[in-house]
Every structure is written in C-alpha cells, then in structure tokens.
Symmetry: C2
Subunit: 416 residues, 2 copies
C-alpha cells in the first residue's frame, strides 16, 4: 500500500500548495469557449431533463428565457423535454455553480486562478438572497437581476479586479475562519473582507456614482456574496489533484438535486453516484420539510477542501442556522470530519479549537471504514420550480457512492 | 438595601435601553462649543503636564503644532510646562479618546446619538495602525494624516452619514460578537460591517473618484477603525446612567497613563483614582516590557458596557494577540467578569458560549467583595513620546479605586 500512501501524500501536498487568486469576471462564453448556443451547465453529476428535480427545471427554463432562446417558461419546458438544450455538468467545463448551478454563455463568471498550478476555475456571481435562480426562481425579478449582473455589475467587478491585480484568497479564507465563517452557509466575514479589497478599485474604475453606489450596496447587502468565490476557489484547488494514480482522495462532491456524485483522484473523472439525501434543517416561516427539495449544488466543493461542514468549529453561529445543535458543540463536527481526512490545513486554522487546522483530503477508504459520511452545510430549495429557498440544514453525503468508488479504486490497483 | 437594588435595576435598564446610532462627523469645536483655543482634552481622569506620561506629552506637543499654536515640538513642550494649554479630560466634555485620547477644536469627531435618551457622545476618527498620535506619535507623517482626516476624510464621512441617516450600532455590535470581535483589541468584523454600511453613501456624496478610493481604502485597511466608534457608543450608552441615587454601577473607567479613574452612578461625576497598572502582554518585534508605558486611554468605556475583556469569549483569536492564554479558554474571562456584573445583555450574545449575554453593569460592591478586578484588553504605547505602539495585552483595573469608590458610595447612603 506504499503506492496509495505516496499518492495521497502528493494529493494533500497539491491541495495545500494551491494558491487561488480571484483575478477577473468575464462572460462565461469567453471563459469557456466551448460553451455554445442552447448549452446549459448545471450542478452535480450528469442528468437529463426527465430526471431533473423541480427547482433545477425552473432554473433551466428561466435561463432559456434569459438567453433569449425561448419566448416564455412554458415554451422552454417543452423544448427542454424535446431535447433542444444540451445539458452538461459545470464540473466538465472547469466550473461550479451553487444549488441549481445554472451557467450559460452570456452570464458573467468569476475567475479564480490557482497560481501554483496555472489552472483556472469559474463560478457565476452570487445573486443574493430571496428569489434567485440558484434556488429555482425564474420570474422577471430574477431575470432582471441576471441582466444587471451581466451588463453592469459583472463588467465593473471584472475591471476592478484587473485594475488591482486580483485578490489572493488563501489568506482571506484564513482570516474568515477567525471571524466565524465556514464559507458554505456563513460567508458574512469573507464577503466583507472581499468588499474591503474591492471597494477602492471599484471606485477607481466606475464612472457613474450611482452605479458605483449600487454595486457597493449589492456586495454589502449580500452575506453570501463570497460563497460563489469560495466555490471557484475550491474547484481551482481540487482540479490539479485529479488523476493521481493510486490516490483515494475525493476531488469533487456535487449534487444535481437527484443524484449525489463524487470523483476520486485515482479513478480520474468517473462519477460515482447515489440518490441524494434530504437535509435536516430549519425552515423559513411558512415552510416545512414537506416543501423541501433534496440536496443540490456544486457547493460541496467547499467541504471537499475542508470548509463548510468540515469547518463548523469556526462558525458556532451557523450551527443554529442549519439546525446542527448547540453552538458550543460546533467543534465536534470538525473533529469528526478529521477522522475521514488525511491531515490538517496548517494555514486554515480555527482559533476556538486552539488553531486546529481544517480537516483536509477526504479519503474514501476512511469514509467506508468508519461509516462517517461527510457533513455538508447546505441551503434548502423548494421542490417546485420558481419558488426559491425555504431553509438551511445539514446533510450527509450518501455512503453508497463512497463504497462504489472504493470498489472501482481497488480495481485500478488490481486488488479486485 | 432595597434602594440600591432598585437603583441598580434602573441603571442596568438604562444601559440595555440605550440605542446608539452613528449619525455624523463634525469638527470638535462644533460638537463641543466650549472647546476653545489652546484647550486640549486628554484620556482618563484629570492630570496636569507635570504628571503626564511620555506618550501623552508627545501627543500634547504634536497637537499643539497641528493646531498651529506653536512652531515646533520643543516650543510646545515649553509652553505646556508654562501652563499655556488648558488640559481637561474628554469625559468632562461628552467625549472619549483612545490611548492618549487627545481632542482639540479642529479635529473631526464622530457623533454617536443615544436615541433612547437624546444624548450625544464624541470621539475622534481612528488614525490606523503604525505611528499615530494616540500612541504618542507626533511627526509630520502623523500630523499630515490628521490634516487629511480634518480636511478630506472627516467631511466626506460626515456627509455620507447624513445622507444615509446614520448607522444603528446596537445590531452592528451584536453581529460583530458573532464574528470574533470584542470591540477593544479586535474590531476587524465591525470595521468591515461599518464599511458595508458606509461605502454606498460615500460613493454618492464624494465627487472625486480618487478621494473616494482613498477613503474606502483607509477604512478597509484599518482593522481598528471601529474602535473609536465603539468608544463613542460606550460613552453614549453610559452617560444617561450617571447620577442615579443609590446605584453602585460603574459609569466610566478611564486611564491617563498615570492614574486609573472610575466614576460610579450613585456618586455622580467624582473620579476615584489609583495608579495605573502595567499591562501583561505581547510585544512587537524589537520591543519589550521595558519600553512599555503603563495602561492608558478612555477605551475602557467598552469594558464598562460589557465588551473588550468582558467579551473575550466572543473573540478567541484575540486571546493570542493580547497574550491571554489558550484561545479555547477565552470564555473564562467572560464568565469571570459575570461575577462582578449585575446581568447579561440579551441583545449582545456570544455564540460559542451558547449565546451567553455579555456581562453588564459592573457593581463596585461585587468587585470589592470578590477581589476580581475588571479585565481590560489594551494596546501598549512606548513610554517615550513620538514612538507609538509597541504591543497589546491584558491589564486589570486597580482595586484601590473601587475600594475608595465604595467608601464614598456608602457615605452617600449614610452608612458611613
């Protein structure tokens, strides 16, 4: 088993060596030249229209209207059912997206460059809270916000980032961990730190004062603004870890609202899937578990790098928000996740746990041996299209995909 | 003792009812019309030039140059020694100031209005880290920054606050406590939250884009920007608690670098003083305890309202910075301070302590009975003028002033 140990050591080395920098915002079709007409990227492993859940269908039909491919939502649904749109996972195009995770050609994407390895990863701009496309929203309010992001905010943010030479994210995340963020369901500190970096450059590159004020207010009014940056950062860190022969480290976890999928370094780009589970959480007033869609989104990339549910100990305030029990016991989640990971991240530490580093490098062998499934902090979407977020909670990755992956991994080593 | 219980209940009621809002930035002479020519307000209880410590002398001579009252530092020192400047505590003029705490007529002051009681409190704008007047700095770099604050930044911030109708501070502090701030030695979260509120309004009211970018960068680059706001907030909350007959609640703690002084509600505006203690802390590279000035500043007003050392449990990361031991044990400071206070603040709670409210209403009787002196998180200035900050640490309020206050308090009740 020396091969596996060496391979996993290399996998963790690459994770810790990652140097993600937020460098630009550009149209998705520019970032991903193969992203063409009537092509729609979604969260999670591959899925066709017939098996897509309600909110993802809502987002697909909404974005078809946004891109001008159809006249209305009904027509979009008909065309989708007829196979008029090419549906692919974000992960196949260097991208990630939260919840429904819809990415199409004219949307602006944030660009995170991993300067240690030269690769780039992309994620759309977080739309804010309320009715938004990532939770399946698709009405005019949702589409108008996407238009503003495309025409005004995205170009301004891109110009600011180019002017200032980008924002190094590794130290920013380190700071956020000392300020109560876990970067999945709590990004208030990192969003503020991003604003601190971005505001002076935005002021220098924006001509119109009202447009500038609106941009600053948009960032300042969205506690989850950083989530999408954290996701692109996660993807940028994990992509160089793919394809290490003999490594049992998880390189991606993602959900499309129907299936949960993982990829493992030593088995390349194969997805191992299992039905997604239902989050256990707290619901906004007027909603209950009966309204909830099962687990969804590429955002589990943050747990893959040791944040989110793995960094719960940094964020006692999030424990209440996601219904994870007593705030003072948030550290237990982090300690438990350390049992299925290969090491600690010495640069991302948690003060309240006396600077314990976040658990890094999920080993599928440890997951299967211990039966401890990765803990994920997640938002909860309404199961019907067009409604939006109804709560937040904790969900476990289904063990079945780790078992399946372990069998395939053993096969690559000639064990089976 | 019914009188004392009733009086203290009223004192705590007023503290918790306080509704501080940051409403404006205006020249000190406008905020405090009695603040005249050659008049210098300083931190702590009253003190004359002869007994002033090095850094406070440095700040006094620096500000005399800044105001144009003398040609240079030497002349300023001679004039100060000859009694040419009227020296008074900030606290006698509705004001507070960090460390040396120097306030003069042309400096801009931030205005915090306590909307529940109608009173206002003032504090200068935090100058940032490095060589600054509050730590006794007085060279051209220091004076130029003060000029920029007076001529550019202060007026812009004032205009922004008026345009937006002010920033409510009670909820902002509540949020900061969930983000690792204790608002004395750690204000990174609250500084960022303030920027989030202020940035759009600053953009709307500032004509020049470079000036705007510089203002945004100044706030965003100063982790202690909020400290002075927290201090004005503390003063605004505590002033209506003054003069309640029979109340043994501390209404102010302040140090001038030579004496530590407290005021107690039931004994009105009398200062009870004792020699200041030396902080125990950590020193910046190249400095040691031999360089340190004893404890100084009005910033202990934040401990008076339950923040700073009293809220250490909210800020495990600050424990290391001030040399207070293991981060995971930061909560012990908060629990200990609960032994000398009358209650918890239900709106300012600490997630990691399962939403324990910060200890509120220091009772001089409990301090004397338990022998537990209030814990203060503090910056440490070099003892010579003109040098600046050399470290940060924890210091105890001297018990002697509480004993003296208790005797005077007993006298007001006819007990002695």
């Amino acid at each position: 088993m020396d091969l596996i140990e060496r391979a996993n050591k290399e996998a963790v080395r690459r994770m810790l060596a990652g140097d993600p920098v937020l460098v630009d915002v550009i149209p998705a079709e520019q970032a991903i030249p193969t992203l063409g007409e009537r092509m729609i990227l979604h969260a999670g492993p591959p899925i066709d229209w017939a098996r897509m859940c309600g909110p993802m269908r809502g987002a697909v039909t909404g974005v078809a209207c946004f891109e001008g491919w159809t006249a209305n939502l009904e027509a979009a649904a008909e065309q989708a059912a007829a196979g008029a749109f090419a549906l692919h996972p974000n992960h196949h195009f260097d991208a990630v997206g939260p919840m429904t995770g819809i990415t199409t050609r004219s949307q602006p994407v944030m660009v995170v460059e991993n300067r240690a390895f030269g690769n780039r990863a992309y994620c759309t701009i977080n739309e804010g809270l309320g009715k938004v496309m990532r939770f399946g929203g698709n009405d005019e309010e949702v589409l108008n916000r996407l238009r503003w992001l495309r025409d005004d905010f995205g170009p301004a943010m891109g110009a600011a980032l180019r002017e200032m030479g980008g924002i190094p994210l590794k130290s920013l995340v380190a700071r956020g961990l000392t300020m109560g963020d876990e970067m999945h369901q709590r990004n208030v500190a990192c969003s503020g730190l991003t604003l601190r970096h971005l505001a002076p450059a935005l002021a220098r590159v924006t001509q119109d004062r009202d447009a500038l004020a609106r941009a600053l207010a948009f960032i300042g009014g969205n506690d989850q603004f950083f989530l999408n940056i954290a996701m692109a950062l996660g993807k940028a860190i994990m992509d160089p870890v793919r394809g290490i022969e003999g490594s049992s480290v998880v390189t991606a976890m993602a959900r499309n609202g129907t299936d949960f999928g993982i990829r493992v370094s030593g088995t390349g780009d194969t997805w191992f899937t299992a039905p997604v589970e239902m989050p256990e959480g707290l619901y906004f007033p007027g909603f209950s578990a009966a309204d909830a869609n099962p687990d969804m989104g590429d955002s589990t990339i943050v747990e893959t790098i040791g944040l989110g549910g793995f960094a719960m100990g940094a964020a006692p305030a999030v424990a209440g928000f996601v219904g994870a029990g007593a705030a003072s016991e948030a550290g237990n989640f982090t300690r438990t996740m350390a049992e299925i990971t290969l090491g600690e991240n010495p640069e991302w530490t948690i003060p309240a746990l006396d600077y314990f580093g976040v658990p890094t490098g999920i080993d599928i062998r440890l997951v299967v041996e211990t039966g401890l499934a990765p803990t994920i902090n997640t938002g909860i979407a309404h199961k019907e299209p067009g409604i939006g977020q109804v709560g937040a909670g904790v969900v476990r990755a289904p063990l079945a995909c780790f078992r399946e992956a372990l069998l395939a991994f053993a096969e690559t080593l000639g064990v089976l």
